[in-house]
Symmetry: C2
């Protein structure tokens, strides 16, 4: 087994916050998704982000507001937020004292074509 800690990850400034991309973990290279730790300082928030990847935001520490599609969802540890591709979103740290830490997992969904799955469905 291999232990991957947000505390000791190499962080770089991206999206207005600090990001620890999992490309630094060679053991995770074969995963069918990309991943990164996101560390949002107290009172901070990300820039608006939008991309062709579907994204899963898993809250692991602190308290988040996730803003997307004109709505805001509050997410605590034990909650994950699934963002559709090309859905603009902002991640806000609701706390003035504690950092917010999330694990973002992202992937490009297979294109669903009109004919796909008909053989199985029939």
């Amino acid at each position: 087994m291999r232990v991957l800690k947000s505390d000791s990850a190499r962080l770089t400034p991206e999206f207005g916050i600090m990001v620890g991309r999992w490309s630094q973990y060679t053991e995770a290279a074969a995963a069918p998704f990309g991943a990164m730790w996101c560390v949002v300082p107290p009172g901070g928030q990300t820039d608006t982000d939008c991309h062709p990847d579907t994204e899963l935001v898993v809250v692991v520490r602190g308290s988040a507001d996730v803003r997307a599609g004109g709505h805001t969802e509050t997410a605590l540890p034990g909650t994950a937020v699934l963002l559709e591709r090309e859905e603009p979103h902002v991640l806000v740290n609701r706390s003035a004292d504690e950092p917010l830490v999330t694990l973002s997992v992202y992937w490009v969904a297979e294109e669903v074509t009109a004919g796909a799955g008909q053989a199985d469905a029939g």
Copy 2:
């Protein structure tokens, strides 16, 4: 966006603990991995688990000991543990008072064959 909460997930007894499989979320069906919430009661632990999937255990609440390969790693929220395929493992809740909640993500890694990648590597 779609909010997925371990608190309100449909849980079933599996592996000696309570599991909330993400197959209950139709929105997550297209992800290139399987996922489940694992809720380990205070003082509890899973049965020994072993499978051909690579598994990523993301601790989101509480305090875990992950036992594998003769070692024990303590994992708090903000830590993820990557388990190799066919690596027997046990997840232990270190607390006598609080539940342990993890998100397990799993996938079958692509087979690496002797000839794979030679064109790129050359």
